[in-house]
Symmetry: C2
Subunit: 506 residues, 2 copies
């Protein structure tokens, strides 16, 4: 059996494999014919050596060349869009439209282009010059970045093309991508285009490398390797925490997006005013991509009363009226079922769904619990149910809502819906401060799904949503600052300074 | 026996103590009469609760008020300068002049004033507005900061007055200071002034709190407590690594300045050109404060030859001609002796000194090793000898120098001296890139001691110099960004936005 090659040092070459795997079509359950290698440490080691050598060269490459690469790569992805969407659809069951071809690929190439613009602009590095003392500093490339993408965005968060990739390269670092084993062929095609763009624009060949899988042990060994500059990871909390422990032990920056249930509070005035509209909004948001978004609204907090009951009944009907979609993989289906069971076992009552269906699907699910129940099992009732399931918590009053918020772990987002006539204002003032401290992005009158790629975005948040509350994984130039170290030049002779730190000619 | 009180929630109150300790005059070995408490968890818990409540209020306090506090505190320290310097001198044996009264206290109050200016200016928070999408973000206070200062700067890095303190407060956070047990009375006097300034300027009483000591277990429990926003620490690698592990496990940002040997490379052209001057410069730098600086030059790399031998002989003479000063504590003296032994055991040869002297002093010490020796024990020969001891490594050629650099751990600083006539230029080009990636601050023709408080400073560096290569502990506004979380506002109604994110009136 021939294994698919890995991309090391500018070459597609045979892996030093310990075993192999096949991806599978989640809609049909059939395995694809291509066999992919599980790399041994020898492959990791080779990638790290090549990346280290590339990093040295990249530090001397002008931003114009990085920008040219990012732009050419975007153009090449655009040119191959139809094929890419086709393959990603087969590997993930995500629809081609609306989604892969018309939303996610354009988003991905837009990210690459924004990264190119940010590299050219240069202000991301916060160059600071004290001419009097002749002390100067800026953010500079940190070194090879290990980029590990998730299952749910085969393009926009792919280690070889997504946000971490674009940010790392734009900041001047080579990337070692670990493809997600659910969509290896998609990743392979992207890596082909990346390599072609690397060659076209004259970057060091090892600027982009890719492997498919390693043993868990080798993955952690890589995370702690001194040749690595930093890690960008999007995925499960379990895997993220293991990577974090390995990287933390040796002081390696690891930027991890791990888990989030994205609380949505609907205040009584809003519910009274536009309850039916909110049922529609919430239903659409929680079923979008079958709930397989990091920002899917997994927890809704309502105030007890007839309007809350009407909302829950409305959601139940909406969920029943929508056909459950195929999930990304059998693994996702299983972990969703386990999550729902945990939440039920902690006292939540099933309102709709709750059962696995044929073909990697799960019934659209909503559960409910009282504020008292939540407060008696706050940890278990915050279990992430990644997929089409949400928990509604019905609270007694503002004090109980605030108490619940004080028990929330860190999240990527938190939303508050309030009445347009000001009726909820005093309630908002009470509950927004505790929510604000626990989320990276606070929304008003808006569901959390949909993460705009803008300089003002924060796709990040307090632990365990991510590993550090000061950084965002989406948005330029801020996301680039993750893959940088602060470098100061003290009394360094003018001709030895990086261009951005030289005295401006008058 | 009455124990000195601790500062909790705006009150000097009796500690819930598990035991007590006395500080000691390092010059005389005599214990001071005041007994200080080792706090139980109850004290930590009370401080955390009070800090959490203060943090909520501080988030609504305008920057003008924070700036007023910082300025008033600086004025109060200046007014009590003579007494403070007197007491710090008794507790640390550091000279009053030149040092405590005329250098360190002015530096400390200057830092507080720079922090005030940075708080007022507001640009530290990198406010970013996407008016079209109505998405806005800024860095915001992260929550209560535990500030743990070192033994070697009783003012400028004190948890209750130093750089971490000033940065944390200016960013809008309350501080829980842990005084260093070597200078508790100095810290107590500072805390008195801090509390007076808090009261005068109407900040929440728990904005500044202070305890003296805890058990190691309670200290680590505090580091991992969910009420805490972040940690600022300067001290030993051993203590720092334990704090880091505790904080990392729960995703708590910990900014740690731990250890650094600050390599200095003197290239052959420079040595030939101005060898005697360099002996003076190096001798002064490595004996400054008896080498008890984080940036003390602990490793010098020379190229083999007559000039190198002359330099070493010159340093030997210079060290012999200078009287060894009293070290900060018996602990410092012991660990310095142990460090020197480790370096000797790894093959370095004693050139001068090497022995403990009466009165917490240590003979001015320099050791030497060849490049081969260094490469055969790179870890042990990088042992930090905190105090008046340095290692000179004599290398064969540029390739060996580069190999040594590749084995260096992360450091705060790295210096390169080169000839003024360009003779060292190609050598500089070879060795500066590997050094650059391993240090936070690269210097030319300058010793690393002396850390200017300027916006362009980086007092930070790759692990294990610090815990994260992206941040500086000195310099405003950059140092404030450590004590912040990124907060995004998505579609939030205008009147609910923080002032810095509102649309500017045209």
């Amino acid at each position: 059996m021939t294994l698919q090659p890995i991309l090391i040092g500018g070459q597609w070459r045979a892996a030093n494999a310990t075993s192999s795997f096949h991806a599978e079509n989640p809609a049909t359950g059939e395995k694809f014919s291509e066999a992919y290698p599980v790399s041994s440490w020898a492959d990791c080691d080779a990638a790290l050596n090549a990346a280290l050598a590339a990093a040295e060269i990249l530090r001397t490459v002008p931003p114009e060349q990085l920008a040219k690469f990012l732009t050419r790569y975007a153009e090449r992805i655009d040119a191959r869009k139809t094929e890419l969407a086709e393959i990603a659809h087969a590997e993930t069951a995500l629809p081609k439209a609306p989604r892969l071809a018309d939303v996610e690929i354009p988003r991905t190439t837009n990210q690459l282009r924004q990264a190119a613009a940010a590299a050219l602009d240069g202000s991301w590095a916060l160059p600071t010059i004290d001419a009097k003392l002749n002390i100067r500093s800026l953010l500079a490339p940190v070194g090879p970045v290990l980029a590990i993408g998730p299952n749910n965005f085969p393009f926009a968060f792919n280690g070889v093309a997504g946000g971490d990739f674009a940010a790392a390269i734009a900041a001047g670092n080579p990337v070692i991508a670990k493809a997600h084993p659910c969509h290896p062929r998609t990743s392979q095609l992207m890596a082909e285009e990346a390599l072609a763009a690397v060659t076209e624009t004259g970057l060091p060949p090892a600027t982009v490398q890719m492997i498919y899988r390693t043993s868990r042990e080798d993955g952690l060994r890589m995370a702690a390797d001194k040749r690595l500059g930093a890690i960008g990871f999007t995925g499960s909390r379990d895997a993220g925490m293991k990577l974090k422990a390995a990287a933390d032990a040796v002081g390696k920056p690891a930027y991890l997006e791990m888990s989030s249930i994205n609380p949505v509070l609907i205040l009584p005035g809003a519910l009274a005013e536009r309850g039916e509209k909110l049922v529609e909004e919430f239903g659409a948001s929680c079923l979008m991509a079958s709930g397989q978004f990091c920002t899917s609204p997994g927890l809704v907090i309502l105030f007890a009363g007839a309007d809350a009951e009407k909302f829950i009944a409305g959601v139940k009907a909406k969920l029943a009226a929508t056909a459950p979609a195929t999930l990304l993989s059998s693994g996702v289906a299983q972990s969703l079922a386990a999550g729902v069971k945990t939440v039920q076992a902690a006292g939540a009552e099933l309102v709709a769904g709750g059962l696995p269906l044929a073909g990697n699907r799960f019934a659209n699910t909503v559960l409910r619990a009282s504020g008292e129940q939540f407060l008696s099992s706050p940890e278990k009732l915050q279990t992430e149910m990644f997929g089409n399931a949400s928990l509604v918590v019905v609270v007694r009053d503002a004090a109980q809502a605030a108490e619940i918020l004080a028990h929330l772990e860190g999240n990527l987002t938190g939303s508050i819906y309030s009445a347009t006539n000001g009726a909820d204002e005093s309630l908002y003032e009470k509950i927004s401060p505790p929510l604000r401290q626990r989320v990276g992005r606070l929304l008003n009158d808006k569901m959390p799904t949909g993460v705009a790629v803008t300089a003002a975005m924060n796709h990040g948040g307090p632990f365990p949503a991510t590993g550090h509350p000061g950084f965002t994984a989406v948005g330029f130039p801020a996301s680039m600052r993750r893959f940088a170290m602060l470098q100061c030049y003290d009394n360094v002779r003018p001709h030895r300074l990086p261009p951005a730190l030289r005295d401006k000619k008058v």
